[in-house]
Assembly symmetry: D2
Homo-oligomer: 358 residues x 4
């Protein structure tokens, strides 16, 4: 449930509400909207719900108390109606601008990373991606350059001024990755690695959470809830395809997830067409489709010479193809800004203020 | 396999090739390209392939003989490199223009159909849809108005001059539906109803073949192959979502199928966001995404008062929403024409002439 | 809903109930239980339900009126608590005995069928299977011997005295297939071919309905409802695997469907491990598992020389392997009879009489 | 690839083989068969394969060098033809005996655990299960008693003499869980948590690896390969259902995985019908089916009063139901021992000695 304070409520009144919540063994979370404060109550409430609502409503400064029917709370539009906008260095994700994360699947060498970054930055990428720790299905495949790769990434940030994103695979790696990278990525296989979710919830870096290839949208939002409820509100979601019976593509890109997420949650949504399709020549049409569906941006794998790549070469595009993709993406993005209005919500939601996709 | 005749080949030489094919118990199919004739050889060739190739190559007027590795032959880009363009009355599907099929899920009455058609035509629909025979999961649900519905549809064609499309459910219905409708639709549950596919392959009306909700892209093209090999080359494919574990949407719209199909086949591709999502407010973003992915058009369910609809009301949009959708669709479509170039083909294909998406 | 007449109700009282149902535009179906008559009311009842219940309860001879919450009515355990037992010649399906349907995927010749039948009958098969009309993904694959195959099947029935089962693919074939075969099979691709379901619902031959490879259990039962509500109560269900992301097996055999169906419906359930797995060496363990899960029997493809088969050879077992399978099946079946008691039903159901799996 | 030493090969000859492997940057793994030693070579071999085979074949004591075509090496039947038998205290898994792991989903209190253990041990359970660290979809659900739960588990081992199994969720927990528990369980959400797999690969406790709900059999074996290649050969696989479009059951239990795994790998296979079905009354038939399919045992959730359980009550059976299940399981298990012979292998495999399912 969440407690909406009235516009004139004092800090002391807010504290009294939180004290009551804590006394019940539950946890209060603030959301400071444009006009007023909302306090979410999380934890297992169970049968005491009606009594608790009555007690909260009786406190000073409380305008209303509303149950949240969905299992996700802090990530829901009901609690936080305005879009979350994530700012990293000069990049902004979720404000209506077009985010493009580009770079190699794996960092193979300082030279390969530099050549790729020069190409994608010249073409207009806004965030640099590159894998240093690689989760591989086989224990015998190339596992990434590790910390050496992180150092090369950090060098590129220094050179270009653009933020860098890379994957973190276990709780013990969070500190070292957070030292070098600007955005921490959680991969599809780790979407329900709760120890890792909690660990990245405790750092100040934004987190990009990829959808598990077998996960429902609700489970994905519950995984984001682990991060946000651990203290980190800056979560970006990344749709990368789900597993189905179709075998022509590696996965099935679920683009309906994009408008669905904009409806259910305030978090930004990125589309990854590289892993979703596994085919280089599908990346452009699916990127355009993702942006047309309302995505806040895309993440795409680029390699100077894809056929020589140590991982996922068949789904990487060349620097020239990336430059051509950028031209097309900008043309579509220029149209969609005005086209996607407020999604029609099935039931009225609290309008705490702010603007955005709601 | 297919036999490419050289540009100067005579009719007699072509006949000699076909005679040899027939003598082997196989069937020849012509494809008259811009510059030369190609003859497909279909049937179970098996172990005699090398000998048969030698014998065909030895005939006069034969330029080359090429095996087709894919199981679909007549529907493949290899055999027929130029796009198939389907013309019905003044409507054209597959020539780069934007096709929009709109109308009610079920025809409920002459008035309901008329009101809907007036609205969608005013907003720019190019083809009128309406269900007369309805396949329903339950034998106790409304099964459609039948022939009475067909008559109302035909009236709307007379009034508007636009072609009408409606579903045919069994071989015995093909003649009566073809009498009233301009395009015959095969529904998702009947995608592998081979008797029905063969029956619609014998009429002159174009056929729109929806993807089975559990069918792979290859099976879908094999179903189209049944229609084309029965004599009807005018097949339009319609992606309408596949069944996955995700339950927020009714089905998962597989938009990667759009560029994949443009790569594998010469047939036009339509996207149906109504059945794919089952949610009214997802229709607009998914329509835009479909067109951005390169679809030749969309099919959408419209109802004057969706909440009163006898079937699928929750996924129908109002006439006003349809008008707004058309504005957005045109904006995206105006961009994509130039963006989708020739898909990069994995292996060289026969260039018989013509232009198009190839 | 259904109306339970009391044990002493007269025929005139039953007729009065049916007249009222018919007057409402609905259809009454009888179920004569061991002690009393139950009349199901099918059709779209909608908002008039409470009034209709009151009016029916007020009639003479009516003991109670109960709504059926599930969308399937005549096929539900609520309406028909005792197991349906299907008798064909001397074979009985659904009475606790072990049904084994065996024979070739396709009938290739009189000799091939005879050789197979002699082998499987000697080993203990109770019903002979063989395909005459074959639904094939490709229009260029062997489509079966047609009526010639039916004649060979009928010869085997004459020779062995055992019933024969074969597939029917379209409404126009129903009469000819019913003339030669004892059980009509509806294949997986036609599970929602409603014209065909209605057509086989009008003949007196039992029907075996295979599950659609992309169909839910509820849709499967609704398909059976089409047959039963058209007048044919003798429906056998056949689980043959569903389509999933796993690619080692052709399909994923959903054995939990067996006890689920025994819980939801009174119809017998057969398991087909041949199509489910697509691998010869998985047939034995999956047959044993199916019988252990409570299936009423199995259907298995047998070929004298599987490597020479015209269709599905890789999933056919030899006659010797079939004989060995029968020994194992009997050992497991001898155990399970006592092990499967009454499934625990989530809510009390009407006990009209009879015994069985309920 | 793997190197088969001849029966008379000396230790020095084996060492020479391993030195050459190490000098190439690859890793040798021993498998001591009944008659001779086999050394697997793992790592990225790539283009040097033919040269490496020649060089190895030229060494003294080498009988043959064979490539392994499958991506899993140490877990494959090719490398290790005899069944792996895991021994923990007096329990044995994989030797043909019936393993039954039973206990509560979550340990809720010392009393609840004790009451359950007394019941299941009296009925014949061979291993005690209980959750102390619980992976929960929601961060607000009961997360388990943690170390306190581990202590209660250890008490039950002392009292009963039976081994205990419990889940470990992150690398940092491995030591503490290994201190209290006899078998470490990796849950479905962590099947591709490679840091965790490597961590449990470094301890001496056996590991039970559950299949990811969206994972293919090949990915599952690759996950097991991570554990075995890290040094721990005692891995037990547990099939617990995969995610499909069917919604009546929580997951779809893929029982064909049981004989497939016995064919592909030497590791024992357990079936978990509780999580697979999510319905109490499906546990018995699916347990029987699992054992009939050849599983080495089952894992089942038992609770004294399922309706009061803090987690997964709807899929837990009572102690009385468990006792009845044991009777049925033993009856089926007594039959299957003789029924499952050697699976027919598609290609000849190295017979190093030993007996078993191969």
């Amino acid at each position: 449930m969440f407690v909406v304070m009235n516009a004139a409520a004092s800090q002391a009144e807010a504290n009294a509400v939180k004290s009551l919540i804590l006394a019940e063994g539950l946890v209060p979370y603030d959301h400071v909207g444009a006009e007023r404060l909302v306090i979410a109550v999380v934890g297992e409430i169970g049968a005491r719900k009606p009594v608790l609502i009555s007690r909260l409503e009786a406190l000073g400064g409380v305008e209303s108390v509303t149950p949240i029917s969905r299992p996700f709370k802090l990530t829901s539009r009901e609690f936080h109606p305005e879009d979350t906008v994530v700012r990293i260095l000069d990049a902004v994700v979720g404000d209506g601008s077009l985010t493009v994360m580009a770079g190699p699947c794996s960092i193979e060498s300082r030279e390969q990373l530099r050549e790729t970054v020069e190409g994608v930055v010249a073409a207009g990428a806004t965030i640099i991606r590159g894998g240093a720790f690689k989760p591989r299905t086989s224990p015998y495949s190339f596992q990434g350059l590790g910390v050496e790769g992180l150092r090369y990434l950090a060098e590129e940030r220094e050179r270009t001024g653009l933020p860098v994103i890379t994957e973190v695979m276990e709780p013990n790696q969070v500190d070292i990755v957070a030292e070098y990278a600007d955005i921490l990525q959680i991969g599809t296989r780790n979407m329900q690695n709760y120890s890792l979710l909690t660990a990245v919830g405790r750092v100040t870096r934004p987190v990009m959470l990829k959808r598990g290839y077998g996960a429902t949208i609700e489970e994905w939002l519950m995984a984001a809830e682990y991060i946000v409820s651990s203290g980190n509100p800056n979560v970006i979601l990344c749709e990368r395809g789900i597993r189905t019976f179709e075998t022509y593509t590696r996965n099935t890109l679920d683009l309906a997830a994009v408008p669905l997420l904009h409806h259910l949650t305030h978090l930004p949504v990125i589309v990854d067409p590289s892993h979703a399709t596994g085919k280089r020549w599908l990346i452009k049409p699916m990127s355009l489709a993702g942006v047309a569906a309302g995505a806040d941006g895309i993440m795409v794998e680029v390699h100077p010479r894809p056929d020589e790549a140590l991982s996922d070469g068949e789904q990487s595009i060349t620097i020239a193809q990336f430059a051509e993709l950028m031209v097309s993406l900008r043309a579509i993005h220029a149209q969609v800004g005005d086209l996607h209005g407020d999604p029609v919500l099935p039931n009225a939601v609290l309008k705490v203020g702010g603007t955005g996709k709601l």
